[in-house]
Amino acid sequence: MRIECPICGSRERREFYYQGADGMIARPDPDAGGEVWHAYLHLRDNPAGETRDLWYHEGGCGAWIVVTRNTVTHEVLGTRLASDAREAAS
């Protein structure tokens, strides 16, 4: 499996550390309430198909990357810097 780092280009999976679902970027307001925080911390989808998660280019440039990939075919569909994704969402 290869991942396209937006900074370094196409690199092998072993250079990356897997963090989890990209929902971690959208941290709720501190006063959002217990249910919202519970969902943020503990509830995850487990899709068969397209998913988006956070990877860290640990053995490379040190960037956090949002990777869109397909859990069924293992195809990597796209990548972008997590900082860009957060700016686009806010």
């Binding site: 900074i7 370094c8 280009g9 690199r11 092998e12 072993r14 250079e15 640990e58 053995g59 490379g60 440039c61 040190g62 960037a63």
Partner: protein, 180 residues
């Protein structure tokens, strides 16, 4: 008063030649991590004015032996050689890392073949040219690798990994040499 004697990271380990490949310790001078603030334009101008070096884009290195600037990570470059000019401090976080890195030069006809056994990056000259640099892994070690010549590479790993780096290179160099 105890007289302490400074030792280089690879003291007693290098130089080493196996087959057509040689690895020697590189003395790069002062190593300084520079993390530009803002969009980096002021930093690039300050670096040019102070040291005559261009600020490298991702995956590139500027300068020459004795005075280099390596792209080193996201929003970070490494100045290798000169003592950093004070004017840089207004445009970047300036951190001395001189004693933090083990620096070696790998050279010879089979250098690319040696790296191919250790690093998950394509170092063939058609892809990775002189002046190209990469942050990547040597086996499990985080490393910075730069092509400085046709068959010459500069490799940096954390100083604590010096012995492991030399061992990994030795195993790979022996394997390449054994294939003739």
């Amino acid at each position: 008063m105890v007289e302490l004697k400074a030792q280089t990271p690879c003291a007693g380990l290098l130089p080493m030649t196996i087959g057509s490949v040689t690895v020697v310790e590189a003395d790069l001078g002062v190593l300084t991590s520079l993390s530009p603030v803002g969009d980096g334009k002021d930093f690039a101008a300050a670096l040019k004015a102070a040291h005559g070096l261009g600020a490298p884009k991702p995956g590139r290195a500027t300068g020459r032996d004795g005075q280099r600037c390596l792209w080193f990570a996201r929003s970070e470059v490494l100045l290798a050689g000169p003592v950093p000019d004070k004017t840089l401090e207004a445009h970047a976080a300036v951190v001395d890392q001189s004693d933090g890195w083990a620096c070696v030069t790998l050279s010879g006809a089979g250098a690319v073949d040696v790296l191919a056994r250790l690093v998950p990056v394509d170092f063939r000259e058609s892809i990775f040219k002189r002046g190209h640099t990469a942050r990547t892994l040597v086996q499990h070690m985080s490393a910075s690798i730069t092509r400085t010549g046709a068959d010459t590479f500069l490799i940096l790993v954390f100083r604590s990994m010096a012995g492991t780096l030399v061992h990994e290179l030795k195993v790979a160099m022996e394997a390449v040499a054994s294939r003739g």
